[in-house]
């Protein structure tokens, strides 16, 4: 089964917000970056990647001033098969990662019902857990 492995927050001050969640829940900062889509920090609870980001474009149609929960990400076994399954279920493709060799983040972004944005990826987000089947394979 696919796994929820990523949750992204849109905020004004990613530095202060990341510090709050590190102190509050002992989440660890596993990556900080300033990319074409956003600036911010990725925190991990050992299983999920919590991205605290200041976005540079309006991906969800709520305006650049929007702050709040932004999108989530699902780790899948096979990106192409999952994208087809999502599209067959009524999802709409938004964009793909522009640097295909870059892993540890989103690989494809899609919209589900009511304009909810989510990522799918077949490589785990940095600091997040692999799919159970992959962990089993690696151990064998």
């Amino acid at each position: 089964m696919a796994k929820l492995r990523h949750l992204a927050i849109a905020c004004k001050d990613p530095d202060a917000m990341a510090e709050f969640y590190v102190k509050a829940f002992d989440f660890e900062i596993v990556r900080s970056n300033d990319g074409p889509l956003a600036y911010g920090h990725h925190l991990s609870d050992g299983t999920i990647d919590l991205a605290i980001l200041r976005f540079k474009s309006d991906q969800i149609g709520k305006g650049m001033d929007y702050t709040g929960l932004h999108h989530f990400g699902v780790l899948v076994d096979d990106l192409d098969a999952a994208a087809k399954q999502v599209a067959a279920s009524g999802g709409k493709h938004y964009m793909d990662q522009s640097e295909p060799e870059r892993v540890g983040g989103f690989e494809t972004k899609m919209y589900g019902p009511e304009g909810i944005l989510f990522d799918i990826a077949e490589h785990p987000w940095t600091g997040s857990a692999a799919l159970p089947a992959k962990v089993k394979e690696a151990a064998e």
Partner: protein, 141 residues
């Protein structure tokens, strides 16, 4: 370490949205919450609870028409301890809910963090969500 175990989405049509995520990702339906705050569908990926809800109040201050990801939930060992910690860090307490009976599987306390981001904490877990890992010492015994 506490664990993210809950994501809630504000939807106009929770039924249709839940059907989508079942088909898209094989998430499994684990409940039908029907409470004072929201109605909807609980899904699980085996680790997290994904709540697809039609809210009855404006918890975020974004209006009743808000559609999108609404809040998240963190499973902690001790709600009282984390309540004190969150207070000391400047989080704003919003509301509580009891632990047992028909409220089991829901949030226990809601807080606003920086920039008014809403999150829950709970020590009993959400329906379909994985419990906290056993402490290393206990697991080794």
């Amino acid at each position: 370490m506490p664990k993210l175990r809950h994501i809630a989405i504000a939807a106009e049509d929770p039924e249709a949205m839940a059907e989508f995520y079942k088909k898209a990702f094989d998430f499994v339906e684990v409940g039908r919450p029907n409470g004072a705050l929201a109605d909807g569908v609980f899904l699980s990926d085996g680790t997290l609870n994904m709540a697809i809800l039609k809210f009855k109040t404006d918890q975020l201050g974004k209006g009743m028409d808000f559609r999108g990801i609404h809040h998240f939930g963190v499973l902690v060992e001790d709600v009282d301890e984390f309540t004190r910690k969150l207070d000391s860090l400047g989080a704003e307490h919003y509301i509580d809910q009891g632990h047992g009976g028909n409220q089991a599987g829901y949030f226990e306390k809601k807080f606003y963090g920086p920039e008014h981001i809403l999150f829950d904490i709970a020590e009993h877990g959400w329906a379909g969500a994985e419990p906290l890992p056993e402490p290393v010492k206990e697991a080794a015994e």
